[in-house]
Amino acid sequence: MPEFGQYLDNESSVHSCDPRVKLLAVLAFSIVILRLDATGLILTTAIVFTFSWLAKIGIVNLVKSTRPVWPFFVMLFFIYVLFTPGTSILPSSFGPFMISKEGLYLGVYQLGKFLLLILTASLLTMTTSPSELTIGVERLLRPLQILGISSHNIALMVSMAIRFIPTLQREMNNIRDAQSARGANFRAGSLIGKIRSIICIATPLTISILRRSDELVEAMEARGYQPGQRTYLRELEFTRKDYLSLGVILLLIAFICCLS
């Protein structure tokens, strides 16, 4: 089962689509989703599921990939159900709480919106590799160069942040193991004790990050890095297929907006 947002290297028309088209589509869908009614939500869910089928990911896999955020959804649902005033569906209330018809509807509706937002974002990252995403962001941000903001620098920052996540994760585990070997207990203890334990990890980890950054900067300089303009392994080119995809997506969004 794929993890949340994990890229799946399938061969599909969705995968081969220009990352800019996919980024723009997700951006447009996200804006629209926040303003949709129930009919629009059902329609958009059907479209997202169709894209996941086209991407050979499968609806079940796509939904399962959002598992890490389910506890948050459950919490959100109960907040809406218990705190929304309206007609109670039960004969008695539970102190200040009440399960209302309006609350249930709002809970399901808001849950649907958030789940759809997460599904759309997950579909993007499952069909676009991190490097394609970075290049896509870089290209989309190029117009900002007029304002003196370098899209190359932003892309490099994003790619390095992603690149160093596993390294820092491993570093943190090493520090935690080293502290555990010297008697630190990260599981038990009072809240203050737990905060102290976090500081025990955070301090050496911060030092390590600073040291790594220093070495990384030096290595980058040694390889001729200079902020600003640079070239890439692959340059993105908008093909006829990409224009067509963008057109179809815009039409779908217009259709949903009209119906909703």
Binding site: P130, R163, T167, E215, A222, R223
Partner: protein, 290 residues
């Protein structure tokens, strides 16, 4: 050719200089090993060759390009590649091919040329087929090969390795060293900083550094056979040199023995020439390691 003239360097003004009046030239295709104890100035010296550090006084010229002129830095860094000790901290890309493409990208080469160089560099270090791999999933040796490929894609004339083999296992180390030999044969100069005396044996030329100065500069055999000088500078002579020095009383050969092959031959001779008389092979106390 790299030319260093009267190079002195101090990290902060009024502090003792880390490098003191260094004069040196390095030819194309040369395999040079730099040895010295910690704090002897090796790393400071090599960072001048890539314009990561600029001289406090004196000059460093790479193929006629003076490192003091900022406009020369990109070209100097293209000509002189550098591999650091920790491969993890020099990998920038999210995939192997992207990391190798980082250098050519900085040189603003067209994408087709970047792709050609990435393919060629990965072939040279034996990482073809690893293009899409995430660097995090590579072994330590593979990461160091990736770092090397990242330099090769810039088509340098000189490659510096700053203790780049120290964290590798024997197999990974041997692979990197074999590639260095191959690069040397292609005319690329190798400048290798190491504490490992066996690695130093592969060099055409060895520089011995101490207290920010070049103490000795010569053929590997001459420098590495000088046990007293190495020990005085806090370095351990190669194991073979130590072994054969201790065996010296039992064989007559006056030639210097530095490699395992030479040592094996000599020991075999020693055993074959045994005339049957009882010999005392116990080592004298004075011959033992200091």
């Amino acid at each position: 050719m790299i030319k260093i003239k009267n190079l002195s360097y101090e990290y902060k003004a009024n502090l003792n200089p880390v490098l003191l009046d260094i004069n040196l030239s390095i030819e194309e295709g040369e395999y040079l090993v730099l040895i010295g104890a910690n704090g002897s100035g090796k790393t400071t010296l090599i960072r001048h060759l890539n314009a990561l550090l600029l001289p406090s006084s004196g000059d460093v010229e790479i193929d006629g390009l003076n490192s003091k002129e900022v406009k020369n830095h990109i070209e100097i860094r293209r000509k002189v590649g550098m591999v650091f000790q920790n491969p993890e901290n020099q990998i920038v890309g999210m995939s192997v091919e992207e990391d190798v493409a980082f250098g050519p990208g900085n040189l603003k080469l067209p994408s087709s040329e970047v792709r050609r160089r990435v393919k060629q560099a990965l072939e040279m270090v034996g990482l073809s087929g690893f293009e899409k791999r995430v660097p995090y999933t590579l072994s330590g040796g593979e990461k160091q090969l990736l770092a090397l490929a990242g330099l090769l894609s810039m088509e340098p004339g000189y490659i510096i390795l700053d203790e780049a083999t120290s964290s590798l296992d024997p197999v990974g180390k041997e692979k990197v060293l074999a590639i260095l030999d191959e690069l040397k044969n292609q005319g690329i100069a190798i400048i290798h900083v190491t504490h490992n005396m066996e690695e130093a044996l592969r060099a055409d030329r060895v520089l011995l550094m101490g207290s920010g100065q070049i103490i000795a500069d010569g053929a590997a055999r001459d420098i590495l056979m000088n046990r007293e000088q190495l020990k005085a500078l806090g370095l351990a002579p190669p194991m073979i040199v130590e072994l054969m020095t201790r065996l010296k009383p039992y064989y007559k050969n006056e030639k210097s023995i530095l490699t395992i092959d030479e040592a094996v031959n000599e020991i075999l001779n020693l055993l074959q020439n045994n005339d049957g008389k009882d010999r005392d092979y116990s080592f004298r106390e004075a011959e033992s390691y200091a």
